[in-house]
């Protein structure tokens, strides 16, 4: 194993050493990204604190992927600031982000399907033993550790040697999350972890997001499902056309408002009158533009007890 | 292979060069035997140069890239071109259609003469007629013994593969062979198939055919070994190219067989093998002569109106047998890559 761990991979230790004052681990200030003359992202503020789930919502093409690519080190921002622990950074590889404790779990490429579960778990950070020419994988220890860590996250697998591709989508995501937690991630970026999953599987994944949060991790939860976001989120940022449309704490917004923002409520409201002309389209339930102003007072969250 | 023949006084320049190279590469690893250093300064076949006006001759063959045989043909052609003040344009393609295009190309360049091989005479018929219509003399070489006259060519230099094969078969009868295996290194090659067919026609014993993968020597070696083990009555291995004959020597020893080896075509290492008795004989159709005569004849035709055989008879360049009786004379030339 190389110099991968920013901090100890031990979950409880992470929690103990995490900044208790809620200072952001990762912070974006007016950050943006241009590809040539195409501006994919502009003026985004975002902060991720330990033991908090920051949800990033937005429709396809809203700039969600660009945002996570900047934070995970795949791309570099071209404007604004990107701070980790208050220090400006600019990652050139995912490895650098990992070294700072920022781990990304991608929806479609979280794992290598044909490789056994335990190999996937340790991929890129394998445990080895022995002197150099004969340095080899410490398979027993890796299997044992992987099993323990998965159980700690509440995942029980009978056969760690089975290809990870034989697990269900939810199980795969969970292995990837457990893996990131084990390897000392302080910030976990989850790219649409529930997008391709059924209702039950999504619930399983949300449970592990909460579990990761409770272990002291800052979680960035990318999704376009406001219901999923509202179940676990502490803070919500909605992206539209590359800019931040909404940034609100859980106490400042209701699920309904969040849903309206996500559903492209503002645009729909503008269309409401036109749609009203068309017979058969029920416009009564669509929000008026006036409903969409963020009202900080609207605190009563109906779903706040969903996971706690 | 033969250490004794390599001892020659070395030139100072060569020693200096070798010393420098050795120092450059790794101290003290200069080879005390063999290598280019030991290769004699063989001298070139320069026979003066004609003062006739510069002319251009195109030589178009069906050579596949990297074939030793054609390399020697080309060397002969180049020697004649150098002597006769000829600019030689050499091109080749094993595909008959492409070869015809190359002849057309030569016609377009308005060359003074074309020498062409007729591996597939039908494919070449039209383009040869075109050349003649354009007033360019065309001579044939190597293959096409039975077709050159029909195509209206001026003359022909060569020896059919079939004729060479037949001569080979007769020689096998002379040495008392009973069962031969003909090793074809490229399945579907017309010339190689003709050689084996020729052997089969005149050889009184049985002839079997064996196909080997010519681009993979270990596989050639194993396959010949396997054949010799499968049929221990085989007493002659007929190789169709010098490198394969040399590999067959190893196969025979691996198989513990008593079979002897003979081959078509020559090269430097093969002459050493004949000297040592590893290989009994080689039949040579003198490719150098084919290239040389074809080019030279076009020069003669242009400058003096001569043509060999009077347009009726071909000029046969083989078969010439090389065995222990004459190998010493020929080895010298094979070392230069011209036999």
């Amino acid at each position: 194993m190389t110099t991968t761990n920013g901090s100890s991979p031990n979950g409880t230790l992470v929690k103990d050493t995490a900044p208790q004052d809620g200072k952001p681990v990762v912070e974006l200030r007016g950050a943006g990204k241009s590809y040539g003359n195409i501006r994919a992202l502009h003026g985004v503020d975002l902060s991720v604190r330990p033991s908090q789930v920051t949800c990033v919502l937005g429709d396809n093409g809203a700039g969600k992927s660009t945002l996570i690519k900047i934070i995970s080190g795949l791309h570099q921002h071209t404007e604004g600031e990107f701070l980790v622990d208050g220090e400006p950074v600019r990652f050139s590889t995912p490895r650098e982000a990992l070294d700072k404790g920022i781990a990304t779990v991608y929806q479609d490429l979280a794992t290598v399907p044909l490789m056994p579960v335990w190999r996937n778990f340790f991929l890129g950070s394998e445990m080895t033993k022995g002197p150099w020419p004969l340095r080899r994988l410490d398979i027993d220890r890796m299997k044992k550790t992987a099993d323990e860590e998965l159980r700690n996250m509440g995942i029980v697998l009978d056969d760690l040697d089975q290809p990870i591709g034989t697990l269900s989508g939810g199980q795969r995501q969970c292995v990837a999350i457990a893996r990131a937690v084990y390897f000392g991630a302080r910030v976990l970026i989850l790219d649409e972890p529930t997008a391709a999953l059924g209702v039950k599987q999504s619930g399983v994944v949300l449970k592990y997001i909460a579990a990761a949060r409770d272990r002291g991790l800052g979680v960035i939860f990318i999704t376009h499902n406001p219901h999923h976001a509202y179940m676990v989120g502490d803070h919500f940022s909605v992206l539209r056309l590359g800019t931040l449309e909404l940034s609100a704490a859980r106490s400042e917004i209701t699920l309904e408002e969040l849903t309206n923002h996500m559903a492209g409520g503002a645009e729909l409201a503008a269309l409401k009158h036109e749609l009203a002309q068309v017979r058969g389209v029920d416009v009564e339930e669509l929000p008026e533009e006036s409903d969409l102003q963020v009202t900080p007072a609207a605190g009563g969250s109906s779903a706040s007890d969903a996971t706690r | 292979m033969d250490r004794t023949s390599r001892r020659r006084p070395r030139r100072y320049a060569a020693i200096a060069a070798a010393t420098a190279a050795a120092a450059l590469l790794a101290a003290g690893c200069s080879s005390s035997s063999g290598g280019k250093q030991a290769e004699e300064d063989s001298g070139t076949t320069s026979a003066g140069k004609a003062s006739t006006p510069r002319m251009t001759v195109a030589l178009v063959t069906h050579q596949a890239p990297g074939d030793t045989f054609w390399d020697i043909v080309r060397k002969g052609a180049q020697a004649a071109a150098a002597k006769d003040n000829i600019k030689l344009v050499y091109s080749s393609d094993p595909n008959a259609g492409n070869q015809a295009n190359l002849v057309q190309n030569a016609i377009d360049q308005k060359v003074d003469g074309i020498a062409v091989t007729l591996a597939k005479p039908d494919a070449m018929k039209d383009v040869v007629a075109k050349a003649e219509k354009a007033g360019i003399p065309v001579v044939g070489l190597n293959s096409g013994l039975s077709d050159w006259k029909k195509l209206g060519m001026l003359e022909f230099f060569g020896q059919d593969e079939t004729v060479a094969g037949e001569a080979f078969g007769k020689k096998l009868n002379e040495v008392g062979a009973k069962k031969a295996v003909c090793v074809i290194q490229e399945q579907g090659n017309v010339g190689l198939t003709q050689r084996c067919a020729g052997v089969k026609k005149t050889f009184d014993g049985t002839t079997e055919t064996l196909y080997v993968n010519g681009t993979d020597m270990p596989s050639v070696k194993s396959t010949i070994t396997a054949k010799l083990k499968q049929d221990s009555s085989i007493d002659y291995v007929v190789a169709l190219g010098a490198p394969y004959a040399l590999t067959a020597v190893q196969s025979v020893s691996d198989a513990g067989s008593k079979a002897k080896i003979a081959t078509f075509d020559l090269n430097k290492d093969l002459t050493s093998a004949i000297k040592k008795g590893d290989i009994q004989f080689a039949v040579d159709q003198q490719p150098y002569l084919q290239g040389y005569l074809a080019v030279d004849s076009l020069w003669l035709y242009k400058n003096n109106g001569n043509y060999s055989g009077g347009g009726e008879q071909p000029v046969l360049t083989g078969p010439a047998f090389v065995d222990s009786s004459n190998v010493d004379t020929i080895a010298k030339f094979a070392a230069k890559g011209t036999r």
Binding site: T12, T111, N152, Q162 | C29, S219, A226, G256
Partner: protein, 359 residues
Amino acid sequence: MTVTQATAPATSPSSPASPAAQRDGRTAQRSLGRRLLARPEVGALIAAVGVYVFFFAAAPAFREASALSTVLYQASVMGIMALPVALLMIGGEFDLSAGVAVTTSALTAAILSFQLSVNVWTGVVVALVVSLAVGAFNGWLLIKTGLPSFLVTLGSFLVLQGANLAVTKIFTSNVASDSISDMDGFDQAKTIFASEFSVGGVNVKITIIYWLVFAAAATWLLLRTKFGNWIFAVGGNKDSARAVGVPVNLTKIALFMGVGAGAWFVGMHLLFSFNTVQSGEGVGNEFLYIIAAVIGGCLLTGGYGSAIGPVIGAFIFGMVSQGIVYANWNPDWFKAFLGVMLLVAALVNLWVRRTATRR
């Protein structure tokens, strides 16, 4: 840095504690037999046994130990090259220049030693450097251009094929390298690369030993080292591998250089076994290496396979191509027989794998 933290597993207070050995019923333990059958090389092994039994019955000459030695020799020369090619395929790439790269290596050593009249070992070392450089260049070009390896190595295949002929002609004014059999160091090098020894009256070529040793080393590399893990990962899902910090580019370049090293070794065997090298040799062999790997259970798409597989694949190929000769079937049909036998072997392999994965 070593890992010590695993000794103190943390139990998160919030994680749903589960009974120790509870199963969730989705992933029933597969039986030992099934798991064995699911190994990539088992199908090939069964096919190999089948082919062996077939020719044992059909060809009397095939039954001798010396026949096995002949088969193994051909298989070993092909198999040594099939190993790095298989690793590269597991890593998700092809190398179409592998066949001519062998010839390039042999020609480099032969021409350099001969032209400079130096000890052949100098040529051997320079050839190694050249072979590794060709491999590294292939890998570098693949990564820089992002083109499929099929295209990149097809380019280098043609370049090497042309260079083999042209450079040989420049130096030797011939199409084969000059014989270096009478030069210093030749006998020594021949002992190492191309010698043979006798076991119970049967001649065994040393390449067979190297082949098995290399296969064992490759297996160890693949299954027991970090690099092996990376090979599977870059072939199975390159982007995932990159995302978790696997040095994808380094791994791929190293795999191409591995093919270069294999080409060097086989090239040296050719040179010291046959004294000269024809510049046109090796063309088409790249497909034989790939065939050996595929028969041995490597996926064409990468991410799956073993190092034992191509060993068995090369052995099957050797058995079939020599078995046809031992059986004395009509040689005009040789290629057709070869094709049918290989197809049958591949089908048996496929059938075994399907049976194994069905549940």
